[in-house]
């Protein structure tokens, strides 16, 4: 991987980090309020809406173009909607509701240097590792 590739990813990460903090996604209480039908705070719908609005046209463009600036496109290959997908997503949702963290905001939250953030990220890495142990990654 070239130095330029590395820089592109760094800048993309930078935008993502600023976006997550601005949007409110890094506040677990906010996230939980979004999932709480009894006291619903719809704010975070705008995060997903804004992101899709900004991203969908570029996806369309890149599909037509067929090639990224620095190399080939790496579109995800799985197409089947199966039990594995639904089961995994269901487990993720339970963890998301319990904690108010999804992976991106969780990684950012270590910046708070709080024990809770480290506990969450440590458990998340362990959870991922455990799955890989029984179901080794394919390249």
């Amino acid at each position: 991987m070239s130095r330029r590739d590395w820089l592109w990813a760094l800048v993309a990460g930078l935008f993502f980090g600023v976006g997550l903090v601005i949007s409110g996604m890094t506040d677990p209480l906010r996230v939980r309020a979004f999932l709480d039908v009894a006291a619903w705070d719809p704010t975070l719908m705008f995060v997903m809406g804004g992101a899709i609005l900004a991203h969908a046209p570029v996806v369309w463009l890149m599909r037509r173009r067929g090639r990224a600036l620095e190399g080939p496109m790496h579109w995800p290959t799985p197409t089947r909607v199966d039990a594995r997908l639904v089961g995994g997503a269901a487990l993720f949702g339970v963890g998301w509701g319990l904690s108010g963290y999804c992976p991106g905001p969780a990684l950012i939250s270590v910046l708070s240097l709080s024990a809770g953030a480290f506990a969450f990220v440590g458990a998340m890495l362990l959870g991922s590792r455990l799955v890989a142990r029984f179901d080794p990654p394919r390249a």
């Binding site: 980090g17 976006g19 909607v81 269901a90 992976p103 890989a132």
Partner: protein
């Protein structure tokens, strides 16, 4: 690239403006990654790479994390309190560790999270991502409803 004055202005905006602006930045980030490296911006994939590195998938994801942390650091400087920390009690610890295990394992089994499925996948119109997103929002809502019923939200 993101002007400090703009961040300061956002500080006084209602939360939905911030949510929308943040969302657009997230979509811009995903677009940048797709347009330059042809890659999908998914954080659960990043987590997978961190715990079980696969050749060719590590370097750009490490750069992405470094950028994420630098961006977060810059933004929180202008928007203090945006990355809150909470009292670490036995109960909150149990919720965080249990939640972390489920988020780590679930996103790996289901091949994606809020970013990979919820933003990138839906932008692509992928049926898998649409089903996954409806599923995790659904079980998330159900989980919070159960927590509310058990008095765990106070």
């Amino acid at each position: 690239m993101i002007h400090p004055d703009w961040l300061r202005w956002l500080h006084w905006q209602p939360s939905f403006t911030r949510a929308l602006a943040g969302g657009v930045l997230i979509g811009t980030s995903a677009s940048l990654l797709l347009g330059t490296l042809g890659r999908i911006a998914g954080w659960s994939g990043v987590v997978s790479s961190l715990v079980t590195p696969v050749r060719g998938h590590v370097a750009w994801r490490v750069a992405l994390v470094v950028g994420l942390l630098l961006g977060g650091l810059a933004a929180v400087h202008f928007l203090p309190g945006s990355i809150p920390s909470f009292a670490f009690t036995p109960r909150s610890a149990a919720l965080l560790v249990g939640g972390g295990l489920l988020v780590g394992s679930g996103t790996r089994i289901g091949n994606g999270c809020t970013s990979g499925h919820g933003v990138c996948g839906i932008s692509r119109g992928s049926p898998r991502s649409i089903v996954a997103t409806i599923t995790f929002i659904g079980t998330g809502i159900a989980t919070v409803a159960v927590m509310r019923a058990l008095g765990l939200l106070s």
